[in-house]
């Protein structure tokens, strides 16, 4: 036994010496700035910067190929640090967060058919454009949650994706993963969003969803600066997000929400149900 341990230790020692030697002999000059940049990056390898991983981005920054402000997960402090290392002025991109623009979970939005297939939004979308009557609503099969490198997306038991304000770093990976483009990026500081993605006419939306935008224009009339209604869908003009709040209480379907108390976490997300019409509630 002892002999075995000794001999194993011996092999380890020999290897260590050899490796140490090799490392010295074959060492490649690394730009110290590259190492320094790599150090301050988040290390999530999420790819939001457009490079395959943090190390590649660090290298690109050091060679001057990439701008210092592309690491969204790192936020403003990382940009500052990188700018300092590189000796350039920090230009912070305003931090962003991903928002699921839909509240129509299974109890609130009608299904077109019963789907028993592969539990993946892209696979479901291929069957007659998805099992939801609403062509824009969240399918709730969690494709976005699976691609999020930060575990920021949860699917509620009722089948709706919700994104954690604490965990989302704004890396944007979920945006192209969703076949229905329900997920959009919004400024982190904006807490008011129109949570709907249906471009159908109001009368059509009422038939299949209790909480959909009916394009009544009340929000835009209340605060013209902060809302636009296009293609039967209201949106917050995020340049003026700070003015958006007064319309929240006025929205007849409660599809404008103010998350001033914080974004929803998992299944606790339960917006008030406002039956629009008897037939829609049935």
């Amino acid at each position: 036994m002892l002999a075995a341990i000794l001999s194993l230790g011996g092999i380890g020692l020999a290897a260590a010496v050899a490796l140490g030697f090799a490392a010295k002999k074959f060492a490649v000059e690394v730009d110290p700035r590259e190492l320094a940049v790599a150090e301050v990056l988040s290390g999530a390898n999420c790819g939001a910067c457009g490079y395959p991983g943090c190390a590649a981005y660090a290298k690109a920054v050091a060679t001057g190929e990439a701008a210092p402000n592309l690491c969204t997960p790192g936020g403003a402090s990382t940009v500052d640090k990188i700018a300092h290392i590189m000796g350039v002025a920090a230009v912070t991109a305003s931090p962003q967060i991903a928002v699921v623009l839909c509240q129509g979970d299974n109890p609130k939005a009608k299904a077109k058919y019963r789907y028993l297939g592969v539990a993946d939004c892209n696979a479901a979308q291929k069957i007659a454009d998805g099992p939801k009557e609403c062509p824009g609503g969240c399918l709730g099969l969690g494709t976005c949650a699976r691609v999020c490198p930060f575990g920021a997306i949860e699917i509620t038991p009722e089948g709706l994706a919700v994104i954690s304000r604490e965990k989302c770093t704004g890396c944007k990976k979920c945006v192209p993963a969703c076949p229905r483009s329900v997920i959009r990026m919004a400024p982190l500081d904006a807490t008011v969003h129109v949570l709907c993605n249906s471009r159908d006419k109001g009368a059509v939306v009422r038939k299949y969803c209790q909480v959909g935008c009916i394009a009544c224009h009340i929000c835009a009339k209340t605060v013209p600066e902060a809302y636009v209604v296009e293609e039967n869908l209201a949106r917050v003009v995020y340049e003026h997000y700070d003015q958006a709040a007064p319309a929240v209480a006025k929205c007849p379907t409660k599809c404008i929400r103010d998350f001033v108390e914080g974004y929803p976490e998992g299944s606790t997300f339960a917006p008030p149900v406002v039956p629009v019409k008897a037939e829609a509630a049935a």
């Binding site: 058919y113 019963r114 297939g117 592969v118 696979a123 069957i127 007659a128």
Partner: protein, 438 residues
Amino acid sequence: MKLKTFPGGLHPPDNKEWSANKAIETCPLPGELVIPLAQHIGAPAELCVAKGDHVKKGQVIGTAKGFVSVPVHSSTSGEVTAIEPRPHASGRNLPAVVIRPDGEDTWVEGISGADPETLSPDAIRECIRAAGIVGMGGATFPAHVKLTPPENKPIHTLVINGVECEPYLTADHRLMLEETDRVLDGIVILKRVLGVARAQVGIEANKPDAIEVMTKACAGKGIEVVPLAVKYPQGAEKQLILALTGREVPSGGLPMDVGVVVQNVGTAAAVSDAVRRGLPLIERIATVTGPGVTTPKNLRVRVGTPLTHLVEFCGGLKGDPAKIIMGGPMMGATQLSLDVPATRGTSGVLLFREGEIPLRPEGPCIRCGRCVQVCPAHIMPTTIAAYARLDLIAEAEEFGAMDCIECGCCTYTCPATLPLVQAIRYGKGAILAKRRKV
């Protein structure tokens, strides 16, 4: 004698007794015909009438757009009341021409046939294209394209598909039995187009009457009728060719790679009408059956007839349908409503109620290997499906995902009710997308 067949496959209850003995009835015209411009694989036809127009029976209402496309015709005379997206068998709302029949059913002028003996193969191909003939087994591939093989692929055998291996369907069976002459004439014309001496008609052995009638009719015409083992998917092109000729279409290849062209019996009958009588493809035989309909029937159906109307003519629904399938139960497409119209590719409509069709969520794979045993393409459905679901597209491709013929045998046999075909189909889509990109 042991009947010819292919390795793999399975034998689901065929349930043909519902409608096998029902003679073809003509379904009356509905109050409104909805004729989709997309009724074939390939580019949809291009609209060439306007709302308010009065159209005649057989008039072109959509022209072919490209080589792999065929024109679409009005199925009766009447007024075009709307041109708008309507529910389509694909599950989407797609552009359709809505026609209110005037009850006269008058043919458009200039319909005339010719003696096929006097026509060149190219002239016959043009007749077939102009008549809008597509593969009527359900694949709806334009027939003239299949009949135009490139010069370096000599064709020696015409295979006629009278197998009808999908459970429940009996439309081809009745067609062979009741309209033998049309089918036979079509086969002779198809032989002439391809310039082949040899034709084989494959029919499953569960249709002895059709085999007998067809054998008698084909005698002495260079057309051989071959009874085949009763097994699904005997009617899939590659499996049919293997059973009949012993030749295996290579992976990624087409029947023409082994010198064969396959056409369905319904297509053959339509070819006869198109060439000899100049008739466009505006009606077909379809089976309306299943436990959810009062009186199962085989019907002569005008293209564009809403399923609601077909079901009404069959005595209506028995209870609420839990599942409506257009085509056979194995490869057909589930419908969201009865508002969709029958098209040139509609071989049948099946109706099931709750409890008559398994609707179970999937469980974990128990590694039983049944899917592998039944797969007629000799691939490993469970492995490929797993790769596809993990988005390991290169691996799915390497394991032969593209060879999957989507016959549904694996899904049917899987005790864990895994959606195997759906997962593989998803993988195939991703592989094609990747190929397009590189």
